[in-house]
């Protein structure tokens, strides 16, 4: 028998077996699908958060807020200190009225809060947009210097919370990898158990095949392929589930727009999606390899001989 013939036989037998014990097979498929879905969701979220952090880092700024009593001279001094700095892409002065206008645009339902006494309660500020290649130490030193400047109430450096976002991104990715690995291990164990159950279902046949002179490769091949098919199927379901979830989040209304923007602006590339499916296939193959180690299959065949 040629290798091609053997492969064709393995796939045919595996398909028959999957159809024959589809309920048990579905258990394995769903287990691997869930583990890949959860692991994939974490990785996808981490990837999207990283993209978002990168995007926001491109828009990062240092904002100097003034006390209500601060005058034009204090604001001009801060602005002058920022102008001409190599890391400052743009310097913008925001009046209390402009700040109020921005607030109303961002939070229309909360606009009434600003009109209680007719005057804008928001402080004037100077926003310094950072260049992408900004020297972090120089920016920090400048911001620190402004904290004690006359008329300055507070200095808000976007990079502080962007750093936290990036730390969160790393945490999410790490959690995804750990959780995904644990769940994948559980899925491999499930597939191993299912393949072993299937082998017991075929124990008489295994015993007969050994008796007539089938090689171990020929006997085990269909089980390996079956485990791999279960894993691939689980991988496909996981990718479809992640895509559906991503699309569902993207179509959320404005109230949850921020969440969808943070979690679902991008999906896996085709190559990454295929890799996830192949990971499922590899997990299935590994499960079947583990379940059909020589001594395990010997036990199965012995049952076949005893009962046969």
């Amino acid at each position: 028998m040629t290798f091609t013939q053997a492969l064709a036989y393995f796939f045919r037998e595996a398909a028959v077996s999957l159809a024959r014990s589809w309920k048990v097979s579905m258990l394995a498929v769903l287990t691997i699908a869930v583990s890949l879905f959860i692991g994939g969701a974490f990785l996808l979220t981490g990837s999207n958060l990283a993209s978002l952090a990168e995007e926001w880092r491109g828009e990062a700024r240092v904002v100097v807020y003034f006390e209500p009593t601060a005058g034009e001279a204090e604001r001009r001094a801060v602005r002058a200190a920022a102008d001409g700095q190599p890391w400052a892409r743009e310097v913008v002065e925001v009046s209390p009225a402009e700040a109020a206008e921005r607030f109303r645009a961002s939070f229309p339902s909360l606009g009434d809060l600003l009109e209680s006494d007719g005057a804008s309660p928001l402080p004037a500020s100077v926003e310094v947009l950072l260049a992408p290649e900004a020297d972090a130490a120089a920016v920090s030193a400048w911001a620190e210097g402004q904290r004690g400047a006359p008329g300055v109430d507070m200095v808000d450096d976007d990079r502080d919370w962007l750093g936290q976002l990036e730390a969160l991104t790393t945490l999410v990715r790490g959690a995804g990898l750990v959780l995904g690995a644990v769940l994948l291990a559980a899925a491999i164990f499930t597939i191993a158990s299912v393949i072993r159950l299937t082998a017991y279902l075929y124990h008489e046949e295994i015993a007969v095949m050994r008796l007539v002179g089938a090689t171990e490769f020929f006997i085990r091949g269909p089980f390996y392929v079956e485990g791999m098919l279960q894993g691939l199927l689980g991988g496909v379901l996981a990718v479809l589930g992640l895509y559906a979830g991503s699309q569902a989040m993207m179509t959320q209304d404005a109230a949850t727009g921020l969440l969808s923007r943070a979690l679902a602006p991008g999906f896996f590339s085709p190559r990454e999606a295929v890799a996830l499916v192949l990971l499922g296939g590899a997990a299935g193959l590994l499960g079947s390899l583990l379940s059909l180690r020589r001594e395990k299959l010997d036990e199965v065949a012995e049952v076949g001989q005893a009962e046969g």
Binding site: Y9, E205, V208, M209, R210, L211, V212, A214, T215, G308
Partner: protein, 258 residues
């Protein structure tokens, strides 16, 4: 064909299944292996197809040292043998044709070739008309004939059988025995384990007797002149009861799925 040289089989618990067994079965011989239950018959047969390994001694099967055969070579040994068991070992969810064509499938025969081989093997045992039946639809005798067809499909030089008539009534036992005699007439060496002394006496062939693992007898019996089995065989040796038809006609053109 089969040579045992001082073969001993002991188990870790101290139990000895075979004790210093030596014999030689030439090619083409029909030999019974007998003894009480637990005498070591099944262990001896299992050693021939390397299901068991001797603790001591050597076994040659068709010139091949079975005891020292690497595990990877065992399938190739088994392909040259035919093995039949008391409990038939047929797969209930497979058709008769599928049951007999396991080895051709392993060897890579295509569906058409498997169908032909199944037909030829089943024709030899008189069951060419039952290719599409399932084992549960057959009588005990027919099931055993299917098992024999499976053992014969690769034209083995050696056929071994472990209590092949143990589950059958006397009439069916005689039918199976006639089949074995016919197979032997065509040149196949047979080693049949049975504790049915009457069957052995009526057939009259070489008999190896085991007792508690030791070979205590090796004698050749003469069959009584009045035994109907042999009279019938002398008159009509061919058990091919099926008409010479092409397999396609038998199977209505359907392929054998093995």
């Amino acid at each position: 064909m089969i040579q045992f040289f001082h073969v001993t089989k002991s188990y870790p618990g101290g139990q000895t299944a075979l004790d210093d067994v030596t014999f030689d079965i030439p090619r083409g011989q029909f030999v019974f292996l007998t003894g009480a239950s637990g005498a070591g018959k099944t262990t001896l047969l299992k050693m021939i197809f390397r299901e068991e390994v001797p603790s001591d001694g050597q076994i040659l099967v068709n010139g091949r040292n079975v005891a020292s055969l690497p595990r990877g070579k065992i399938p190739y040994l088994r392909r040259t043998l035919g093995v039949v068991f008391q409990d038939f070992r047929l797969i209930p969810r497979k058709t008769v044709a599928e049951n007999v064509t396991y080895l051709p499938r392993v060897l890579g025969h295509d569906a058409k070739s498997r169908k032909n081989l199944a037909y030829q093997a089943l024709r030899r045992v008189g069951l060419a008309h039952r290719t599409k039946a399932f084992p549960t639809e057959l009588s005990g005798g027919e099931q055993q004939r299917v098992a024999i067809a499976r053992a014969l499909i690769n034209e083995p030089e050696l056929l071994i059988a472990d209590e092949p008539t143990g589950n059958l009534d006397p009439d069916l036992s005689e039918e199976i025995l006639r089949l074995f005699l016919d197979i032997n007439r065509r040149g196949t060496t047979l080693l049949i384990a049975t504790h049915d002394r009457e069957l052995i006496q009526r057939t009259g062939r070489r008999v190896l007797t085991l007792n508690q693992g030791r070979l205590v007898g090796d004698e050749s019996l003469e069959a009584p002149a009045t035994v109907p089995i042999l009279r019938e065989l002398d008159r009509e040796p061919d058990l091919d009861r099926e008409p010479d038809r092409e397999p396609a006609e038998v199977d209505d053109g359907q392929e054998v799925e093995a």
